[in-house]
Subunit: 228 residues, 2 copies
DNA sequence: CACATCCGAGACGGTTGCGTTTCGTATATA
DNA sequence: TATATACGAAACGCAACCGTCTCGGATGTG
């Protein structure tokens, strides 16, 4: 393989959806405050970002198992030592990536429960329509069920904020009288959210905005011909 | 590592739930008809089964990526040549495993749609409560989103039969007048099935029989306070 | 019995990734 | 300016797996 185009095979997402890279840059800007200020040459922020960006691309392309430090360093045009100086393992590297890239989710509040849920689910649909976003999630799945620390990190940094937004909407709906007071929030949440993961990772069926609206409608009114 | 206990680290499921191994044996018995009957020593059926059984254990323990032919041969107490004589790659090996182990799902038919769905979902809950079953699914997730042929095989042999059973129940319910005629079968199906995959592979929340019943109830009647 | 094929075991060379180390150079502080 | 640290690049020895091949022996068919 020619050295020049070593990174070319990963460019499947070239120029289409930079979303996760944007989130990465934003996350880095936010936590840039912590500078220890030692004596010699300071660590390069550019290298730091390049490494995380390369990790993101390769994680999406090859999954967690397929991710290698060699490839990360090569893609980031950085020496391996520069990677190991900051992270002890690819595990630590991915953990920091997740923490940096996971952004807070806004909680819709339109006054109408159905509309709030629609916006929430549409946001998720949009996320899953970004190839890289969906690929990262799929690529992490095996690892989550095998590595408790990774699962914990993923759930705390990524899942929990999104989950909280949904819970807030549902509880508001209950208080407001839109939803039945005996609503099982956990189950409703699963019905709204799980199908998108399922389609992406298991069944392969399409994830469209129409699916999002259909899920909300389905969850709200059920399918009984004569509701009891 | 001592040679004697080379397989000891995989024995997490020891003595608890032999279900998938049973299904494997049953599947092998079913398709044992095809014997080409050549001239020299015939291939050992025992070795064949031992290899598939070892593949199953290691796939559950380490995922598709972590599966190696070396380990399969060692665990099956078989020479590597014996593996390669039958399968060209670990891909082919796993494909045959899936085809052999995927059993047909019975379609409940009690006359009551709610009860049919309950039984269907309870069956799935029971499946997911077998550690090995759930681990195999998780371990395949990354591969499914990256390998179209594997995804195709998995969906045809494993997913489709189960999906068909659920569709049958829902359509019977519609014809019978239990369910609304405009019921979106795909969406209902996702709401019933996806949460179990999601809990197992993503959120880590528990999968209990109560969850199964709650899902059916939720899907049937929705959560609106005043159904339109 | 002769022969073909398979058996388990393991050696083989090749490749990949690991984590460390060395090189000459660049960039900060004191 | 002297010193300390980081930089990119690449070589190192090590280990795991790959897929092939060889070995002596086992087990069928004709």
């Amino acid at each position: 393989m020619p050295v020049v185009s070593a990174a070319a095979d990963v460019e499947t997402t070239l120029g289409s959806e930079p979303t996760l890279h944007d989130a990465l840059r934003a996350g880095l800007a936010q936590r840039s405050a912590t500078e220890p200020k030692g004596r010699g040459r300071p660590r390069s922020a550019a290298a730091h970002e390049a490494i995380l960006a390369a990790t993101l691309d390769l994680l999406a392309a090859h999954g967690f198992d397929g991710l290698t430090i060699d490839a990360v360093a090569a893609r980031a045009r950085v020496g391996k030592a520069t990677v190991y100086r900051r992270w002890a393992s690819k595990f630590d590297l991915v953990v920091e990536l997740l923490q940096t890239v996971a952004s807070a989710t806004p909680t819709p509040d339109t006054g109408d429960t159905r509309e709030d849920l629609r916006q929430l689910v549409r946001n998720m649909v949009q996320g899953f329509s970004h190839e890289q976003y969906a690929q990262v999630l799929s690529g992490m799945a095996s690892e989550l069920s095998r590595n408790d620390t990774m699962a914990e990190t993923f759930r705390t940094n990524f899942l929990q904020p999104r989950r909280q937004a949904a819970i807030t909407i549902l509880q508001r709906g209950i208080e407001r009288g839109d939803l039945r007071p005996d609503t099982d929030v956990d189950v409703v949440l699963d019905c709204l959210v799980a199908p998108m993961y399922y389609r992406r990772m298991i069944s392969g069926r399409p994830i469209t905005p129409e699916l999002g609206d259909a899920l909300v409608d389905q969850v709200l009114r059920g399918v009984l011909a004569s509701p009891s």
